[in-house]
Symmetry: D2
Subunit: 260 residues, 4 copies
């Protein structure tokens, strides 16, 4: 499938501030970037801090006054096998070194707190079947509802509140998987068919020797996700981090399927 992505963000910076953008499609084996363009108006120098391990693309610039950020890309999603059934848990010694940290608790995913729950609820299952059951449990027990959570909401809050948005669903899925000793991380993605169009937060688990995307919200097909940033949780994958202050002026996303 080929997708055309358009992101337009305008911010106003009262004082010059450094800005980190995680907005560009990642360089990953399961997606090919056919064309893309990141531009600032007025034009400004863009420094790059790309990550070779995850393929995450990182742009840094100094914002001042009103700045329009525009990102356009044409991306082809290659064969992506998100099937969980029967995928085996990888032994710790067989994990790639960089996967170890995705076994650990993080700001919004205090997985250490969920060990008893996971053990009681899902211990009869293994690997991909366990992850599938976790995703199903979340879908059955959480309501997708804006306004319940905010920037400080953790998976523990969401587990109690029983409601949240994509970020919260993903944090709980990650926490439960890590509590089951399955590496799990957060991925931001342009999501085809998501309504309204937006950057989506999904999870990714390491099973059977590779990473597999899961969407605990069920709001967008895995086959239509264009990977952007990868990290421990929402703290790592914000599409924009402002070292200083800025006001949002306007923001819009378009994600559309294109021919050939």
């Amino acid at each position: 499938m080929r997708l055309s992505i358009q992101a337009d963000l305008t911010y106003h910076f009262e004082h010059p501030s450094e800005v980190l953008l995680l907005l560009e499609a990642a360089r990953a084996p399961d997606q090919a970037i056919h064309s893309e363009r990141l531009s600032l108006s007025p034009a400004a120098e863009i420094a790059r801090l790309d990550d070779s391990v995850t393929g995450e693309r990182r742009a840094v610039f100094t914002g001042h006054g009103e700045v329009a950020i525009s990102y356009t890309a044409k991306v082809e999603l290659l064969a992506r096998d998100a099937n969980l059934k029967g995928a085996a848990t990888t032994r710790v010694r067989d994990l790639p070194g960089e996967a170890l940290r995705y076994l650990r608790a993080s700001r919004y995913c205090p997985s250490d707190r969920f060990e008893a729950f996971v053990s009681t609820e899902f211990s009869h299952l293994q690997g991909g079947d366990k992850v599938a059951a976790i995703v199903e449990w979340i879908g059955g027990h959480l309501a997708y509802e804006a306004g319940v959570s905010d920037a400080t909401t953790t998976a523990m809050d969401t587990f109690v509140d029983r409601a949240g948005v994509c970020r919260d669903f993903t944090h709980l899925a990650i926490s439960l998987c890590r509590a089951a000793e399955i590496p799990a991380r957060a991925v931001s993605a342009y999501a085809w068919k998501l309504e309204p169009p937006d950057l989506h937060a999904v999870a990714e688990v390491y099973l059977g020797g590779r990473w597999r995307l899961i969407d605990a919200t069920g709001l967008a097909p895995i086959d239509g996700l264009v990977r952007v940033a990868t990290g421990l949780d929402a703290a790592d994958i914000a599409f924009m981090t402002i070292f200083g202050k800025a006001d949002l002026v306007s923001q819009s996303f378009t994600i559309e399927q294109t021919k050939g």
Copy 2:
């Protein structure tokens, strides 16, 4: 300075469990490992997941029954400049890519919550002077006291409780530095002169183009720290992670200065 390190840990594993050890001296530019030996009794295969970026050494084995873990090393600490005075904050674009994540909130370091405090209390200072003032503030406002904190204690708890142990002092130092937009991470270290001898938790900040160790507890000289693990906070640097269950049988550490 040359240090001789001896760590002896004995655990009992009822069922076979994978164990991740972060117990060996890191390969780092400011320390040279002259000799070392990690051994298990009874002997078992040790897999390695060493990290080339931080130099962290990671050993994985399967524990079953009573297992004695022994680590001996002779390490020379090379010139280490921990001076903070006048060290400048590095601009985001000039950070090494792997330093970015040490600007973010983590499980025990919810730095996002401390922005107002740091801004009010330390905004008149910059770079190394700001870090020095943070360390001094912590020393003046926290009591070193066992029993106040536990495995779930965050820097927010410690900021309120005004007491804790090395791990808590370090979490608060890291949180305040990150809130000031200075990359900060946790380091476990064999600490010369620490009483009783133990693995110590300290912080490390990125200033003036390199990482610098700080010990908010002031309990051990920076010049006598042998680096072991590096991570976001205590979740990353535990010297032993057991994927399953085990009982501690005995544990002892010796860190001594040696001649030539």
Copy 3:
């Protein structure tokens, strides 16, 4: 001083719901109610659950459809001595029985967590001087700022965030006083000169044999506060508790000084 109070609240109830109103001026020795009227439109039966100990007035009705609640009163504030200087801490045995519970931690005032802080910061002071120092500390360290706190914010959050609204200032003042073993409670009040006019949340401490009002925000004169509800914290003094659901249609408060 004589004050004229007017409160107008309109809500829409989709389903019949019981409503508890804590909106009327309390019967208290330091204020005299010259005239008052609580009315509902359309008219509905009002049951009363007034509290004889605190003088708190409680009205219960069943809301359905759009309901306009109107409260008008003319209240004379009698001599009120809010002076703290030199007021002595009352020994536990000399407290009125109902004051005991105001020594304890509550939903938004986890006073148990602040004992170390209070002990370090204020232990050189006693009684009213200690309370005055606590109020001054809060005024000097917290910013009055909307949007930082929400309905789940505790005094621990506020102590870290260093910002909040009247409810948060009051929760922190109460927590610190209780941690100093001084009974402290929350009071809602119509506050003369508060801008915009609203029900204000203030604290009240038991010193020298009687309760004394304190306003950690300093936004309204103690002499112009008309007491309404009294309780452990905001959980107890909400002016309206809906057992079911309702939407706010409109709300306005007027508090004005009147002649003789």
Copy 4:
């Protein structure tokens, strides 16, 4: 049933400290105190702050040096109907005024957080049947396990951790009932057949016009509970509150059935 109670507590007070004891059998319609004696050794004056509403008995004394506290009582438990089946929820307007506060969130029972969970899980049930289902849910999902919780553990923690002791079971039961708009409070009680003998923490709900005891742990028969203190949660019913510091020297409880 007649029970003989013996409580012996010895504490050491370095400095003179006021002590509040909630250790004596309450004066309540469902229990008759045939004989009792509270004594201190060395003897000291005991002031009384008994509560006429709940029947809670409160003794205050000044402790200094080593003090032995002894309480002996013979109590007859009268007819006690703890049956929940079919008991109706009382409308807010029909509650006794003092029951209102037991609808609200408290330090360890943040009932406001559980509204969605209670609504989803138990909304098909009413009154006593709902409470019975809540008690059954807790019994089926929580493990009775020491060491998981501590003095700061809330019902939210316990809901996540899925384990705790009587205090934690009771906090969760209270929180879920309040979230269902059923007044619920904490009661400490000498519990016949509890092993080891101790003061037990149970809950009490207001249904069908009266309070009914419930024990979410199922560890002791309701018919063998001798009421002591009553309050919002554990913050209110501690059998001993020391305003200062003391060390426990020894402690023992005996609760036995007696003839005639």
